[in-house]
Amino acid sequence: MDREKRKHETPMAKQDVLERIHNFYEVALGYTEEQAMREAQRCLQCPNPHCVEGCPVEIDIPAFIKEIKEGNFLAASVKLKEKNSLPAICGRVCPQENQCQVLCVLGKMGDPVAIGRLERFAADYERMKGVTVPPKQESSVTGRVAVVGSGPAGLTAAADLVKLGYEVVMFEALHAAGGVLMYGIPEFRMPKKVVQAEVDYIRKLGVEVKTNYMIGRIYTIDELFESGFDAVFVGSGAGLPRFMRVPGENLGGVYSANEFLIRVNLMKAYLFPEYDTPIRLGKKVAVIGGGNVAMDSARSALRLGAEEVLIVYRRSKEELPARHEEVENAEAEGIKFMFLTNPVRFLGDESGWVKGIECIKMRLGEPDDSGRRRPLPIEGSEFIMDVDTVVIAIGQTPNPIIQRTTKGLETTRWGTIVAKDETGQTTKKGVYAGGDVVSGAATVISAMGAGKRAARSIHEYIMSKKGA
C-alpha cells in the first residue's frame, strides 16, 4: 500500500537500522498506550463493519478497538481471544494489508485503521500484565480429538475444540510446538517467547501437547482411531523444501531455506557456540526466491554477519510475493535485489564448497495460471556471480509422511491433502485437515481460519456420531 497516502495512520517505532542488522531482537517495537489509543480513535465503529469480512477468524474488530479507545486494554484482549487464540502472533505476521485492512472503509482512501498493530498491542499488554485463562465451561460433550501438528492451524483447531469441551491431544514431531512460527519465522520478526506464551495459553485451556511425536512414524492415523480418538485434525503444514534441480545443488554451502532457518531459529545457531548447533556462512550470500521466506533468510544472513546479501528473483519487483513491509525492511537494511535473474547451476571449489552461481537473465512473458507474468530466459545472457553461500527459498510442499501412511486419504499431485474448504473434511471418515497441508504454503491467518472451520465441523461430526 502506498506510504504517502497513509498520512493519518499512527506510525509504529522500529529498531534503528544500523543497530538491528547486528542483532536478532524484534524490529518492530509496537505501540505505546498513547499511540494505541490515538490509532483506535480513528476507527469509525461502523455498524456494518466490512473489516470483519476480511478476517478469516471473524474477530469483532470494532468491539476490540472500542475497548482500546476507552483504555480498557485487558478487555480488548479478552474480546480478541473470543475468536482468536493467537492475537500476539496475528498482530505481528498477518498480512493485514490484504485481509481486514483492505476492507476497512478508511482503507478506500488508502489509509485504513492499523488493525493488526492494535491487535498486537492488546495481546502484548495482556501478556505483560499476566494472562488470564477463562475458567473451563461446563460442557456436556464427550469425545477425544487428536490434532497432528502444532502450527497455527493445529493450535486454532485445538483451542476451539477444547473450549467446546473435548479432550484434545496435540502431537508435534519437533521438540517445540508452534510450527513455522517456531522453526521458520525469525526471532526479529516473531519472538519465540511470544509464540511460547501463546502455546502456553492453549495448554492452559486444557490441550495436552505432546512434542517429539511424529505421526505416520510412531502412530498412523488409523492407530490413533484404534487408541480411542473420535476424530483427527491434520495440520502438518508444508515443510518439505523445494530444490531447483540444477547441477551443483548438493554442494556444501547450498542450503534450503528451511535448513537455514531451522538451524538459526529453532536451534539458535546464532548463539553458537553457547548453543550446540552450528551454521556455516560465507561473506557473500545469495538467496534465491522472492517470498517472505526469502526475505527472512536474507535478513537472517545479514544478522549472522554476512558482508553482502543478495536476493535473486526471476520476476520483477512488482511480482515479489513477500509482504510489502518486509521488502521495505530488507531494502532499508541493505539487502540488494537482482530481479529477472535465475540460477542455472552452482559452481564449487575443490573442497566441494559453493563458490559461484551461473545465472541467466529473464524477461516477462504472458501471464501464467497464477496471473503473474511468466518469466522466460533470455538466451545467451548467462553470467557468473561469485558467492560463497546460497539459500534456496523457492517454496515448500506439504510434509508427505501422513499422506504416505494413511489409507483412504486422497491427495493431489502437488502432495496436498484433498479437503473441503468449508469443513476441512477429507476423503477419510473422521479425518479433517487444514492449513498449508491443504492449501500449499499460504499464510498464518488462512491456516487459522481453516483450523477454526474444521473444529466446527469436527464438533458436528462427533455430535451426530454420538447421536446427540
Binding site: L174, N250, P278, N399, I401
Partner: protein, 277 residues
C-alpha cells in the same frame, strides 16, 4: 524428559545406554533411529536403535563419543535425563528371508547390527558377520555377534586383531555365494564393501549417516544422491542400495561442519566440560 535407565561402556569411548521411552519402544523396528537433544541448548543427535526392552519400556542406543554432543552424553549417568527423544524415525530394515546374508559393521555400528541380525535370523536367514574396527579396542559385541552368526570374522585397520583390512572379503566372495549384503559404519567402510560386492553383483544395503537436523524431511541437510536422484536419508533411507550411492558427495557433505565441530569440541573440553555438563 527421558531417563537414562542403564549405561554401559562397551569399549573405550563407546557406550550403550537404555533410555526410558515407552511409546517409542512399542513401535520401533530394527534399522530405525531416534534423535536425542540432551538439554535446552543441545543439537539434535541421531542415533540408531540398538535394542528395545518392551517390559521396561526402554530404547537402547550405542554411541561413540567423538564430538561435543556425544562426549556430553558420555558424561551423563544412570538416572540423568535427556531433554528430548523423538522416534522411531527412518524406514526399518527390510526383514525378509533372503538366504545367506553378508553383514559388515564398523566399531559402534556393531551394536545396531546386532539388533537387526536378531530379526533376520528369526526369519531363517544364514548370517555371516564381519565386525570391523580401526584397532581391536574399537570392537564391540564380538561375543554376541559370534553367537548370532553362522560364520564370524573380525577385521581391523591396523591388523591388531583378525584380518588386516577388508581385502579378505574379496576371497570370501569368491568362495561363497551370498544372496544379500548390508554394511553399516563410516563412509569409507561402506565404500570399500560396496566396491568389493559390486564385482559379484551382490546387492548391498548401506546405512547412510548423513548430517541431519530435523530427521523428518523438513530441512534437506541429509540429502544424498542415489541413482542420480536427490534423496533425503531421513525419509527415504537411511538404508540405500550401496551400488547407486554417490559416496564422494556424501563425504564432502559430511565434512561441511568440521571446523565448527572441532571448535565446539575443543571449547567443550577446555571450558564447557565441567561447567556446563
Amino acid at each position: 524428559m527421558y531417563e537414562i535407565v542403564t549405561k554401559r561402556e562397551l569399549a573405550a569411548n563407546i557406550y550403550l545406554i537404555e533410555v526410558a521411552a515407552e511409546d517409542v519402544a512399542k513401535k520401533a523396528k530394527p534399522g530405525q533411529f531416534v534423535i536425542l537433544r540432551l538439554n535446552e541448548k543441545g543439537e539434535r543427535v541421531p542415533l540408531t536403535i540398538a535394542g528395545l526392552d518392551l517390559e521396561n519400556g526402554t530404547v537402547a542406543v550405542a554411541f561413540h563419543a567423538v564430538g561435543r554432543s556425544t562426549k556430553k552424553l558420555a558424561k551423563m549417568k544412570e538416572g540423568d535425563s535427556i531433554h528430548d527423544l523423538v522416534g522411531p524415525l527412518g524406514n526399518p530394515t527390510e526383514i525378509a528371508k533372503f538366504g545367506r546374508i553378508l553383514c559388515v559393521a564398523g566399531g559402534v555400528w556393531c551394536a545396531p547390527l546386532r539388533f537387526i541380525v536378531q530379526a533376520l535370523r528369526d526369519k531363517g536367514n544364514e548370517i555371516v558377520i564381519v565386525a570391523a574396527g580401526r584397532t581391536k579396542d574399537t570392537l564391540v559385541f564380538e561375543k554376541e555377534l559370534k553367537e548370532l552368526s553362522d560364520e564370524f570374522y573380525v577385521a581391523t585397520d591396523d591388523g591388531s586383531k583378525g584380518h588386516k583390512g577388508l581385502d579378505f572379503l574379496k576371497d570370501l566372495l569368491k568362495t561363497q555365494k551370498f544372496d544379500h549384503a548390508m554394511a553399516m559404519g563410516q563412509v569409507v567402510l561402506l565404500q570399500t564393501v560396496t566396491e568389493i560386492t559390486r564385482a559379484h553383483n551382490l546387492k548391498t544395503m548401506v546405512t547412510l549417516a548423513s548430517i541431519m537436523v530435523d530427521g523428518m524431511g523438513m530441512c534437506g541437510a541429509c540429502r544424498v544422491t542415489v541413482a542420480g536422484e536427490t534423496k533425503f536419508a531421513c525419509m527415504d533411507g537411511p538404508e540405500f542400495d550401496g551400488h547407486q550411492v554417490d559416496f564422494e558427495e556424501l563425504i564432502r557433505r559430511q565434512r561441511v561442519y568440521l571446523p565448527e565441530e572441532r571448535m565446539a569440541s575443543m571449547l567443550y573440553e577446555k571450558l564447557g566440560g565441567m561447567k556446563r555438563g
